[in-house]
Subunit: 126 residues, 2 copies
Amino acid sequence: MSDGSSDYHSINLADKLSLFHERWQPKVIAELNDYQFKIAKLEGDFVWHQHDDTDEAFLVLSGELRIDLPDGHVDVAEGELFVVPRGLRHKPYAASEVEVMLIEPRGVPNTGDAGGDRTAESDAWI
Amino acid sequence: MSDGSSDYHSINLADKLSLFHERWQPKVIAELNDYQFKIAKLEGDFVWHQHDDTDEAFLVLSGELRIDLPDGHVDVAEGELFVVPRGLRHKPYAASEVEVMLIEPRGVPNTGDAGGDRTAESDAWI
């Protein structure tokens, strides 16, 4: 919320999350240098993939996310952060709806090396 | 929380925040490529400064932060994100305690170009 005396405004995550309902379609809300903050709603299973050139951060805003990894999994609850290291295969899974914020470089596709029909538009702002 | 079957663990922000009480002393909790996630507790006034080489993101976890800017200010409430553009002078202010997560490149000093005795250790992990 700004006082109106400057051109700068903070970004309310809950307000932004209320603007869309699609699952697995990350929406950009801000940039930091050449990185982007994206919010997304996840439910059900995703595809195994990896990002060879970058780490990827997940901050869970609501719900509980499971990230399957080659040798186990990590549960990421509301208020928790997990950074998937570059090159590590992973598969997000949400038993019920999870709201997350992703932080990663501009232009990283959500399906990484896997591609396919789960690939979302990579620079969709909301 | 991990299930113990992998070496990877999520980071609980509230747990990390419970480990220290100092104000204006950012603590690194994770890295994303050459960027760092830092948590900090803020109360009272800081110093005017700028970061000439990088944007700086503030995500407010509790309380309400005011960031004074050259031509006004922005109020950043709990659950809100604000990215200070590179080169823009700013001064954080917290009327009562605010908990924040900062995201910025590794090695950025909290006082930017201003330096002085409010400068915190720049790579303190917790």
